[in-house]
Symmetry: C2
């Protein structure tokens, strides 16, 4: 068993686990996430090539179908992570990638992809190597609203996904154990 660790690139940009972030919710707080939901098979969807060419791209339903055509059905209890290569930009202006009008441009999950993982697969968490579960250009944060609103968790600002296989690793999310927390900095591990 080899451990690879990707709990964010630095203490200044730690990985962040959220449950009630950006949404109005009476749902579960981060400390109440079931421990069993914080450990599971890690599915990595690699969109680096597309994200490198288009900062507004994100994980689509087609990406998930393509992943499944190569690796089989996404397992029950899985955690699905976007590898957009965006962790390379952390602590630079490119990480937020704000344009002259203050609009942000970085990859995230598109709502159709999140909806599929929520309703068609039994995925417990999603993770991104960028600043936000939603694409940076969003106006209304549909993935935050829908995914976190379903009492599932999301993980932002993870790093080093390129060191891991598209499937076969186990992710362990040391999310915040602080009563009532909406989320917070997290130690994240992967075992392969």
């Amino acid at each position: 068993m080899v451990s690879i660790i990707f709990d964010g690139t630095s203490s200044n940009t730690p990985a962040l686990t959220w449950t009630r972030h950006c949404i109005r919710s009476n749902g579960v707080s981060a400390d109440r996430i079931s421990p069993e939901a914080l450990i599971g098979p890690l599915v990595i969807v690699d969109i680096r090539q597309r994200a490198g060419a288009d900062s507004d791209s994100g994980v689509t339903l087609e990406d998930l179908k393509s992943w499944e055509s190569h690796h089989g059905r996404i397992a029950s209890g899985a955690i699905v992570a976007m590898n957009s290569g965006w962790d390379a930009h952390v602590r630079t202006a490119k990480f937020r990638n704000s344009d002259d009008d203050g609009h942000l441009h970085f990859p995230g999950f598109h709502i159709e992809a999140a909806e599929f993982l929520l309703t068609e697969r039994e995925v417990v968490g999603i993770a991104v190597d960028s600043l936000s579960l939603d694409v940076g250009s969003t106006k209304d944060f549909p993935v935050h609203t829908r995914w976190l609103g379903s009492n599932r968790w999301g993980l932002e600002c993870i790093a080093n996904l390129a060191e891991l296989p598209p499937q076969g690793a186990t992710i362990i999310v040391g999310g915040p154990k602080i009563a009532g927390a909406s989320g917070g900095p997290s130690r994240v591990f992967a075992l392969v």
Copy 2:
């Protein structure tokens, strides 16, 4: 692989990882603990019978030698946990077990045991199922001073050790990833 989770018994008494707690130190903060030092083979020293009879008892050098005589030398990179059964008292007065003079009485590590793990074995962290790394009756917190002062970490208030074997489990400590933190609530997992 089966996961057993023991990240404290409740959000009100979470497991706590410390590095600079109770001591004056310019040492490593909790967020700077090497990820590799937060995962390792878990050694469990069972002193439940003695602690049940004597609240001032704790893990001794003899306990460690006895463990090694049964299970072999404590591995490099191991994490050594005290199972005193004290997690059963959490959220009751017995957990602190204050006497009429305000002195506390609960199990912890004795300094000779900590010293052995520090100088004779390459142990990276110690853990207790009670409120403190030191025994409750301490006046001067020698284990806090010596162990944490050596830039190693300690974990307090863990639970459910009785579900794990004396050796063979892997512990993963989701300690706080908060810049400059002396310590804080933690998600703790074991894989067996």
